[in-house]
Assembly symmetry: C2
Homo-oligomer: 133 residues x 2
Amino acid sequence: MKENRLVKETEDLACGARVIHEDIVELVARDMPEKTLLEGLASFFKVFGDPTRIAILMALSKEEMCVCDLCALLDMKQSAVSHQLKTLKQSRVVRSRRAGKVMYYSLDDDHIDSVLHIGIQHIREETTEHRLL
Amino acid sequence: MKENRLVKETEDLACGARVIHEDIVELVARDMPEKTLLEGLASFFKVFGDPTRIAILMALSKEEMCVCDLCALLDMKQSAVSHQLKTLKQSRVVRSRRAGKVMYYSLDDDHIDSVLHIGIQHIREETTEHRLL
DNA sequence: TTAACAAATGATCATTTGTTCATATGTATA
DNA sequence: TATACATATGAACAAATGATCATTTGTTAA
C-alpha cells in the first residue's frame, strides 16, 4: 500500500493529532523561520492592527506631523495619541524628532508605506472580486 | 506676526488640543481614507499580529497544508489551529479546499506573501542598522 | 447504518489591549 | 525663576483575544 508511505499514525504527538503528510510536514519544518523571527514579525504587524494606529500611519505617510496636530486630525485625546505613538516608536514603525517643545513624527522607512499600500490593494481587489463573482 | 497664520488656538476641540499647523492638518484631512477603509486595513493586519498565525502563514507560503499537518508542525491542539484558520479565512488571508475529510489551506493571494516578506526585510534591516550604529 | 476520523464550533478563562484621568517631564519665554 | 505649553507616563478599567475543553458537523468506508 503506497498510502502507508504517506500516512503516519502518531497518537503520541503532544497535539494529539495524526500526521497525514509526513513528508510535507518535514519539508516545511526544515525551513520554518526561528521562533524569534516569528515573534518579531507578529509584534511588527500587531502595530498595524488597530484603526487609530492605521490612521496615524496613513497621516504620516502624507506628512510629518506633531502630536497635537494628530490629536486634532483624529479628534482624540492627547494622551491616547501619545500612547499609540509610543507603541509605534517602540516597534520602529515611526521615528520622532524634537523641535523645541514640539515633537514631530514620521514613518520610519519605506517598508511601512509598502505594507500599507499592499494592504489597501488587497482590500480593493477583494471588493472588486465580489463584483465579478 | 506670520506665526499667527499657522497657529490656531482652538480650545474648543473635542480633544482639547491646540492645532499648531492648521494648514497641514487640513491638507492631510482632505485625503484621509474613509473610516471603513481604516478599519478594514486594521482588521486585515491584525491577523498578522499573532505568532501562531504568522507561523501558519509562513508554512502555507511554502506548501498547501491540511489542518492536522499544521497541528503536527506547530505542535498545537487541533482546536486552536482550527480557530486560527477560521480567523485567517474570515479576513480572506487564507483559502481552503476540501478533499474528502481533509481540508487543505493555502494563502489567498500574492499580497499575503508580499506583506510577510516586507515584514521580514524590515526586521532584518533593523538588526543590520544596529550593527552599523 | 454505524464506526472512525478530520475539522469546526461554543463556552470559558486568563491575558492583553486601548482609552481615560491625573500627573510628571521637558522646553521656551516672560 | 516662574509660567505656559507640548508631550510623556502610570494607574485603572472595560473590551478584545487566544488557548483549552467538550461537543458537534461532515465525510468515508465497513
